[in-house]
Structures are given as C-alpha cells and as structure tokens.
Symmetry: C3
Subunit: 315 residues, 3 copies
C-alpha cells in the first residue's frame, strides 16, 4: 500500500509520497517501510529515534519527528490506527505451499493444518487440532484434541498444550467513536511459545497487536488462564488456574501467580515474585517478595489486615 493511499484513507491532505508501506508497528519496533503512531503522549520521547517511514500523530507533535520521517496528522491517532489496521491484517489463508510434517510426527486425520505451516519431528497433533497458516511447531510437541494455533504463531520444542486451548486469538483492542461504537484494532502480531512450556486445558493466549506475545522457556500454565496481547511471561514462571493477565504486562523469570489472580495491563513484575491466590495487581512490582490481596500488598501486611478486620468484627 503506498503512503499517499494511506493518507487518503485516513483523510490526511498534502501527503503525496509514493513509498510502499508494508506494515504497522510501534515507534520503537518499526523499521523502514513501516508506519507507526503516537496515540499516548507518554511515548512521545520515542519519536526521535523511530525508524518508521511515517507516523500517525497529532499535528502539534509533527515537529518532534526526525528528519525524513513523514507525518500523517490525525485528531484521533488511535482511531486512525484502527482503521488502517484492517488493511494490513493478514487473511486466514495466504499460502499455496502445503504444510510440512516432520519425521515421526503423527497427525490425526481430523486435524487441520493450513498451507504454509510446518510441524517438526516426533510431534503428536491430535484430533480436531487447527494449525494456522505459516505457524511453526517445533519437535516433540503434543497438541491435545481441539487445540487451536492461529496463523504465524511459533511453538518451541517439547511443548505440551492440553485440549481446547487457543493460542493466538485476537487481542481485545478497539478504538471508540464519539457515538460509543467500537472500531476493531486488527491484531497483526503473533504468539511465541518457547521450549519446554506446558499449557493446560481451555486456556487462551492472545496474539500481539504488533510483534509477539511471548511465553518463555520452561513456564507452566494451568487450565482456563487468560493471557492478553503483548504479554511476556518470563522463564520458568507458573500461572495457576483461572489467572488473568491484561495486555502488555511483563513477568520476570520464576514469577508465580496463584489461582484466580490477575494483573492489570502494562505492568512489569520483578523476577522471583510470588502473588498469592486471588491477588489483584494494579501497579508494577519492582521488589521480589510474596504479595496478596486486592489492592495488592505484601503478604505479611495482608495477614495483619485480616487480623485487624477480625478484631473490628469482634468489637
């Protein structure tokens, strides 16, 4: 899609450049040929180093762009991004190349492997499994019945995913009109699951808006867990059943989250942190420790609070 076509689509006048734009990305991740955006002023300082060819942003910020980066002025940059994201979304099927199945792998007849996908050696791909276009599955992987891997996702070696889990479904992102309608931000990223990860049954891991949602090596995730778009789960972390992570939260290595715990989005959790069952995390955690409650506090403070509440109850 040429830049002047994008400008016309978004209603930006005066942009005549015919450079070919191949995709969208964040200010930090974008490279030449990609378009980026500034919809939240807290990322303003990332403008100066962006490698994007063009940036959607409020006209008042256009002067902050490096020389050679083209401004696409917008009163509602996030809405412009949503409108444009549809044009860069990939179709469900896009490849003519038959899937590659490695030596020793068993694929049940009712599994559906799209063109462009590849499956390593010694895998077991059970009944009803779906593997999307251009997805890459490593060696010695077991996908239990009815697991769904969306397009472009990458699954490492010795990964085990239990029945019904969904990897790479769209993140939950919309721009909102003044009339209260929601315009879908198409999710063009993927999910990367590293080696030796185990995922339970009926868990969901959303793909990234741009880039990757990442579950790092050796992490273990229980049943009915929700992992939002662009989360990063550190190595050897443990997420117990019914835990939920909102988008763009990063866990360090060896983080433990108890059952039914949850984090808000855009947080950073220190390595080796433990959050007890039912914890509700609304702020980043910089010091490892054991935490509880909602709002979150040190576990020993939570115990103290329960003691005080019990005493209040007796009075």
């Amino acid at each position: 899609m040429k830049l002047f076509e994008i400008a016309a689509l978004l209603g930006c006048s005066g942009v005549e450049d015919s450079i070919e734009i191949t995709g969208m990305n964040t200010l930090r991740e974008a490279s030449a040929g990609e378009i980026s955006f500034l919809s939240d002023s807290k990322y303003e300082k990332e403008l100066e180093n962006t490698q994007a060819s063009a940036v959607i942003l409020p006209s008042s910020k256009a002067h902050l762009l490096p020389k050679g980066v083209i401004a696409l002025p917008s009163d509602e940059p996030y809405m412009s991004v949503a409108l444009l994201s549809k044009h860069f979304s990939k179709p469900i099927r896009s490849s003519e190349v038959p899937p590659v199945i490695g030596e020793g792998s068993v694929v049940y007849p009712s599994a559906h492997i799209e063109n462009g996908a590849s499956i390593g050696s010694n895998c077991t791909i059970m009944s009803g499994v779906y593997v999307g276009a251009d997805a890459v599955i490593g060696d010695d992987v077991i996908l239990y019945p009815n697991v769904c891997i969306y397009r472009d996702c990458r699954i490492g070696n010795r990964v085990m995913i239990h029945a019904g889990s969904v990897i790479g479904s769209d993140g939950f992102g919309y721009a909102h009109t003044k009339m209260g309608e929601h315009v879908k931000l198409y999710q063009n990223g993927n999910v990367v699951i590293e080696d030796d990860v185990e995922i339970g049954a009926n868990t969901t891991v959303d793909c990234a808006v741009f880039g990757s949602t990442i579950i790092k090596q050796g992490s273990k995730i229980d049943n009915l867990v929700q992992i939002g778009h662009n989360c990063i789960i550190g190595e050897h972390s443990i997420l117990v059943s019914q835990t939920g992570l909102a988008g763009s939260t990063t866990l360090g290595r060896n983080v433990v989250m108890g059952g039914q715990s949850a984090t808000a989005g855009h947080l950073s959790i220190a390595p080796f942190t433990t959050m007890a069952a039912r914890s509700g995390v609304t702020k980043s955690i910089t010091n490892k420790g054991v935490y509880s409650g909602f709002p979150l506090m040190e576990h020993k403070m939570w115990l103290k609070m329960q003691a005080k509440l019990a005493k209040m109850l007796e009075s």
Copy 2:
C-alpha cells in the same frame, strides 16, 4: 401434547381439556397454545394479563387467573415445570432439510452444519465448527475453529467468534427435590447475537430457558467470559476477560465490565455504567457511573475505603 395429557403427567386431577399445547413460556411472553407457570409470588401480578392457555401454579392462586385460562394446580410449580420441560425439549436433530450455505462462504470440511441450519454469504466457517439445527448465521461472519453454535441460535452479520467459544449451551437451571436431588429444567430458548458483535476465545453464552439470551449490536466480549441464560447485553457494551453474568441480568447500552467482574442474576444495570475489574454486583444499578468492589460501591468510595483500610493497617 394435549392439555389433559400434561395434567396427567403432573398429577393434576380434574383437567379434561384436549387443547393442543405447543410449548412453555413465561407469564408475560406466553401466547395461546402455550403453558406458563407461577413459581415465585413476585410475578403474581402478571397472572391477570397472561395469554397462556394454561398455568401451573399453587391452587391458592388459581382464582387470580383470567377467565378462560386453565389452572394446573401444583404444590411445587417449579418442579412441575422442570418435569414438563423435558417433554418440550427439542431433539438435537429435527430437520430433513439440508443446510443452506450462502454465496462466497467457505466451510471447512471438518465443520459440521446440521440440517435446517443456514449460513449467509461470504462467511468463513473454520475447522471443527458445529452449527446446530435451525441455527441462522448472517453474512460476513467468521467462526474460528471449534466454535459451537447450538440449535436455534441466530447470529447477525459481520459477527466474529474466536476459537472454542460456545453459544447456546444449556442454562444452569434445576428444581430441587426434598431429598436434595436436582431435576433439570430443560432450556428450550436460544441465543440471539446481533450485528457487529465480536466474541473472544473459549467464552460461553447459555441459551434462554424460554425466549432468548441476547447480545445486542456492536458489543465486544473478551475471552473466557460466562453469560448466563436470558441475559441481555445492551448495544456497544464491553465485557473484559473472565467476567461472569448470572442468569436473567440485563445490561443497558455501552456498559463496561472490567476483567473478572461479575453480576448476580435478575439485575438491571443502567446504560453507560462502568464496573471496574473484579467488581461484584449484587444489586441493580439505576444511576450510571463508575463502580468498584464487592460489595459494589461508587469507585470514589472504594478508593476512600482503601485509604481508610491502609490507615487502619498503620495504626
């Protein structure tokens, strides 16, 4: 089924009428040829206007019925309804008419479309999807792998349902014997999903006992959400991941429910209400605003309470 047969089934003596009864419904929704019931005295005033042909109710309430409506006296009306509901439940398969697939639609080979169902044009019905008898799917719909649409459900245009979600599973309703056993109330209603709705992965939406569970136009529902029987979700509402709604709750338009929030059953939530993550709603909300906590309170009060609790902890 003839009325005297129903009376015999329920052990109501003295009912000889041979009128054909075609179904069951609520007092308010029932029409001629249907049977209704009074199991909770708070609906007593709906007796006088019911269009039902017959009503199951305590004998002490029979005099409140309009002229011409036949009483089926029962000491345990809800148990009688449960016993009768089985006889009006529809079989999984009931049609000889092959499904209709609209122009431009792609149906993967492992999808199963029952007889009597219809799918509009330009749809993508992916692997492992199930579409039940007499279900109606609109145009430009995407059903991702292993989505299950139970019989009689209706899906609007431009609806997108992510992998593994279940639309129209039975609501959770039972009558209880004195011995503590549970008798299933067969759920004979459906789910109606209007245009431009998006539903995430592994979410569940139960069908109505009678009538419809409704998700109105433009609403967006995240992963692992539970929507109980007979709920109505207003236009352009947003339900974040792991939210749960018990049966028969109605949300107005543009309601937002944060992650892991929940409502009890039979509530009414005002349009444009926002409930923060983890909210637990046990009473109806008549004034729009931002609410938090369990029990629910205005969000600013919740913040105040947290401040007071923190102070208590320091003392």
Copy 3:
C-alpha cells in the same frame, strides 16, 4: 520395570531386588508390585500400613517401613517421584482393540474414538468429540461438540457434558529444581464421573496423579469451572460458573459453591455446606452452614463486617 532398574534410575545404590514394579501410588492406596513415596512428613504415619513393595523416602525415615518393604532413599523424594512418573505414564494410544459402540448410539463422523474405548447404548457423541484409549462411557450419555475425554476416564449413565469441556487433562504438578526449573509429575490417574452428572461448557476436570478424580452421582457443574486433580465432589453438589477447586479437595454431598468461588487444595468441606459467590476457602469446613468472603467466614459475620466497613467509610 524391575526394582533395581528404578533404583539405578533414581541413583539409589545397594538395591538389587528384581521384583517387577507395575505402577506408582500413594502410601495408602499402593498394593503389592507398586512403588510409593513419602515427600511430606505429615503422611509419615501411613508408612506403617503401606502395602507398597518399595517406598521412595528420606533415608532417615527408612526405619519406619514395615518389614519386607524396600526403601529407596532419596534426598528429594518428590523430585524422584517426578522423574519416575514419566516411565510409568501411559502412551496416548496403547490398544489394538477397536472401540465398542453400544446399540442405538450415534457417533458423528468427525468424532474420534480411540481403540480400547467403549461407548454404551443410546449415546450421542457429537462432532469433534474425542474419547481416549480405554475410556468407558455409560448409557444414554450426551457429549456435545468438541468435548474431550482423556484416556482411562469413566463416565456413568445419563451424563451430559456440554461443548468444549475437557475431562482428564493433566493435573498441574511439578517438582522444582534448585535452579528454579519445573519437572513434570506425570499424571497417571483418571477421572470418574458417576451417573446423572451434568457438566457445562468449557469446563475442565483434571485427572488424578494416582487413582481418580471423582464427581459423584447427581452433581451439576456449570460452565468454565476448574476441578483440580484428585478432587472428590460429593453427591448432588452444585458448582456455579467460574468456580475453581485446587487439587485434592473433597466436597461432601450437597455442597453448593457460588459463582467465582474457589477452594485451596487438600481441604475437606462438610456435606450440605453452602459457599456464596466469590467465596475463597483456605481451610477445611467441618460444620455445615452458609459461608462467604475471602478469607472465608460465616455468611452472617460477612454481612456484619460489610456493615462495619460501611460505617467506617462514613466516619
């Protein structure tokens, strides 16, 4: 596998016995030919009556074993059990015997029934269902689309399981190395679901480590519920949507758990106990009653606490 081979595998010197070991089990459940273990000293008193042929345990406890039971000393018994569990895990497919389908049962073409499984009479096994090796399904069972029954599970008569539910996925159990890595404890047990149980959509029930996870007769389980390994759900219990039970918890008969409630592991809940929605149960309940809150308290105390908190807010 011969005992001296196991000893070599685990690095226990001096064990030369060539007795054939056929499986692993708990101290209480093990019989001759099985190996057991002591990894938590609270089970120490079960050593004296164990019928196991050999026991993995700290060398300091070896003198507590009955005569004739062979000790396999280990500094990290739980890790030894995890390492050994892999060798006793059953393959996904292990039988050459074609599945048996009872009279009057309908099996949709896209369902996958493994060899060694049997399905009773008058069942409906819908599209995309998976029934694992040696699983036994009773009579008059309905498995809705994409239900997955793992190997060895046993489903009683008149059981109904709604779409997408997973029965018998691996419990969430790992031994942890000093480097913070997690070694899978292979889950070699099964799930037993007794007669007249109904299970909602997208619910998950994990198999037992050893022995059985059991859902007793007449229990009703809603959508998106998590039941951990080795739980026992008493007769006619009711678990409302999004409830979660950690491993090895036992509910008595007619227990009710409200929506989004949860229990920790290894608890015992008295018969006829009701836990309100959102209850969080961290200790066993010995007296039946109605309970609420997290931490759990009598419901009337919870109401009193809410009143006191409301009063505090006004001050």
